[in-house]
């Protein structure tokens, strides 16, 4: 299998330009990923990129944005606001739509599912969506057992924490939800695999990445045909 084309682009985010990682042929059908939040983003980055590479090899073009105050952003986390993140997701989806001349499928993971309704897409796909209150509780708990306050994100502002705790996945059109088989929540499909976002050592699973890539590709086709 050849290595899919990879490059970076900038989009206009809330506090200035932020980076988008692109994997895949720029002429191929676009998919915009909305990443998990805080520590879960680090823990699932390898899984996301493996999924993006799988989709790229299958004739798709995948995009992954840095949100304000995350990744390579020049904005510091204390300055980042919840509405900035929603604005970023909106603008990232517009950037991809302009680049391709068609709206992308929006693929959101975990906390990304709290922001993905801000994007304009051809359809929505969610993996292991979670209420913001659960994520906030996990972060609150990170100091139990002697860990760092808020898993090292202690400088996240109080308003950002409150907005996270109040957020729930919004209802969207053309939505497919996938969860792990160990997750009791409602889903259109369940798959076997580890909850990588829980692991303190970031890991990866080529099986989960391949299963997600297959499911996303099929849903994109379904949305494109509707």
């Amino acid at each position: 299998m050849s290595v899919p084309a990879q490059s970076y682009a900038q989009y206009q985010a809330a506090n200035g330009p932020e980076w988008l990682l692109r994997i895949g042929d720029p002429e191929a059908a676009p998919i915009l990923f909305v990443p998990p939040l805080f520590e879960e983003m680090n823990r699932t980055r390898a899984l996301l990129v493996a999924t993006m590479r799988g989709l790229a090899a299958d004739g798709h073009c995948c995009w992954l944005p840095d949100l304000s105050g995350t990744g390579e952003s020049l904005t510091s986390l204390p300055e980042a606001k919840w509405d900035d993140w929603r604005h970023d997701v909106t603008n990232a989806s517009k950037h991809v739509a302009v680049a391709h001349g068609q709206a992308p499928l929006i693929a959101a993971i975990r906390g990304g599912c709290l922001l993905d309704d801000a994007a304009t897409g051809s359809g929505h796909w969610r993996f292991a969506p979670v209420p913001g209150a659960s994520l906030a509780r996990d972060l609150d708990r990170a100091s139990l057992g002697g860990g760092a306050e808020w898993a090292g994100y202690h400088d996240a502002s109080a308003v950002l924490r409150q907005a996270l705790a109040a957020a729930v996945p919004a209802g969207v059109e053309l939505l497919r939800t996938v969860r792990l088989s160990t997750d009791a929540g409602a889903a259109d499909a369940k798959l076997e695999g580890p909850a990588l976002w829980r692991r303190s050592e970031p890991g990866n699973s080529s099986e989960v990445a391949a299963a997600l890539a297959r499911d996303i590709a099929e849903w994109r086709q379904t949305c494109a045909a509707s």
Partner: protein
């Protein structure tokens, strides 16, 4: 959807430890009551605590209060199992 069977609670605890700590399930299957965990197992550090608690809550259908969590409760497989059974099988 709380579990009612002590064996199921133990199997769930082993699955959660393997999943959250990234351990080989065959190795976790050999854990006994005296196997030391928190502070002894390098994978079981403070960063892993929140994930372990949340995953146990979700899969056992229980709620764990912060004041119930201390190093002693997580010290060994036996102490964690005792806690999980007491919370689940009430």
């Amino acid at each position: 959807m709380a579990l009612t069977d002590a064996g199921e609670v133990e199997a769930t605890l082993r699955a959660v430890l393997a999943d959250v700590l990234g351990l080989d399930p065959a190795r976790v299957a050999r854990f006994d009551e005296s196997t030391e965990l928190f502070g002894a197992l390098p994978e079981f550090d403070s960063l892993a605590v929140a994930g372990l608690l949340t995953e146990l809550e979700e899969r056992l259908g229980i709620l764990i209060e912060d004041h119930e969590v201390d190093a002693e409760m997580m010290a060994s497989f036996g102490s964690l199992l005792t806690f999980a059974r007491a919370k689940t099988l009430r």
